[in-house]
């Protein structure tokens, strides 16, 4: 916080202890990689307009590779997970208070668009650009 200097000086020793606790918990988690789930990464998902039975109104494309992000954002947040600095802080705070503060979220960090060509009810044709439809990269936020 940019404000609240009083609060920062007040009870100064307590946060230091809790951060130390968090770091110990981080070390413990890092020492037990076997129990950790799969890390945050991009998974394949192809949306097929043909398989959805929409060929009578969607002219193009036949479908598109959408992808999605899934996996755990837990320490060690290595470069593969493309974690932000905020994600690292979020993980620390989660260790301090795991019941109320969630872990960082595995979510898209890069998104791209597609365009879809389709008929409307009046047989007019619409070409629409949809932004942020395709996951390019995932990361921990």
């Amino acid at each position: 916080s940019a404000h609240g200097h009083k609060g920062r000086h007040y009870n100064r020793s307590k946060p230091q202890r809790t951060v130390q606790d968090a770091l110990r918990a981080v070390e413990a988690a890092a020492d037990n990689p076997g129990i950790s789930k799969e890390g945050c990464k991009k998974h394949e998902l192809y949306v097929s307009f043909r398989d959805l039975g929409w060929q009578d109104w969607i002219i193009a494309p036949e479908g598109y590779a959408a992808y999605y992000c899934e996996g755990e954002c837990a320490f060690p947040l290595n470069s593969y997970m493309n974690a932000t600095n905020h994600a690292i802080v979020q993980t620390l705070v989660h260790f301090i208070n795991p019941d109320t503060v969630p872990k960082p979220c595995c979510a898209p960090t890069q998104l791209h668009g597609i365009s879809v060509l389709y008929f409307d009810d009046s047989s007019n044709v619409i070409l629409k650009k949809y932004r942020n439809m395709v996951v390019r990269a995932c990361g921990c936020h």
Binding site: W57, P61, I114, F119, V125, K128
Partner: protein, 257 residues
Amino acid sequence: NFSVDNEVRSSFIQRRLRSQERREMQREILSILGLPHRPRPHVHTKHNAAPMFMLDLYNTISTGPEPSGFSYYKPVLPSQVSPMVTPQDSRFLDDADMVMSFVNLVDQDQDLLYLQHRREFRFDLSRIPEGEAVTAAEFRIYKDLIQKSYDNETFIVSVYQVLQESPNSEVELLLLEQREVWAAEEGWLAFDLTATGNLWLGNPEQNLGLHLVLEDRHGQRTNPRVAGLVTGSRPQDKQPFMVAFFRANEVRFRSIR
């Protein structure tokens, strides 16, 4: 980047969806596409002029580098005459969030209309979502080659916006564009409708359509077919249509379901 991921068909592991899953997936994708329901077009031939032109535009966006390991699905255009996308259309496309083609609602194939020297065209712009502004619009009509004509024979094609019409009085018209065409010319003629399109979008009650008038070199009004103008629905790949390029004024959020 609208080019790379379009038309990608990967060798993803496939699983057949159960009926319920399929319905849910359809609902989700419709929501992502911003559609309240699945469109049910009464005519869905892709060989009409407007869908072919739109497919040309789509392919203009979709031609990009192909990432390795992916096979591409490319819609194949029929081999008939295709409404060519001009460099100007490509520029309009770059600025647009949405492009829409409109079919002519006036039945030009009625025999009685062939007696008249003007043609009427109407397009329904009433279903455009709010917040979309027309950045460019064109009326497109095909001109066939006239075989039996003098080399230097020319015609004047005039496109008018209908301002007012009532059964008891003359139709009030506003000249939008006038163009001289050679009898030997062949191809698509595009008339600018940008201002008219914006007017019709904001004031649907003023959308009374267009009139096309053809005059020969002596100033005599004549049937547009004499100059090779295709005003009817045949051939289907040469039907006249309107195309409009839209840009969203505001960020639209999907409603929470």
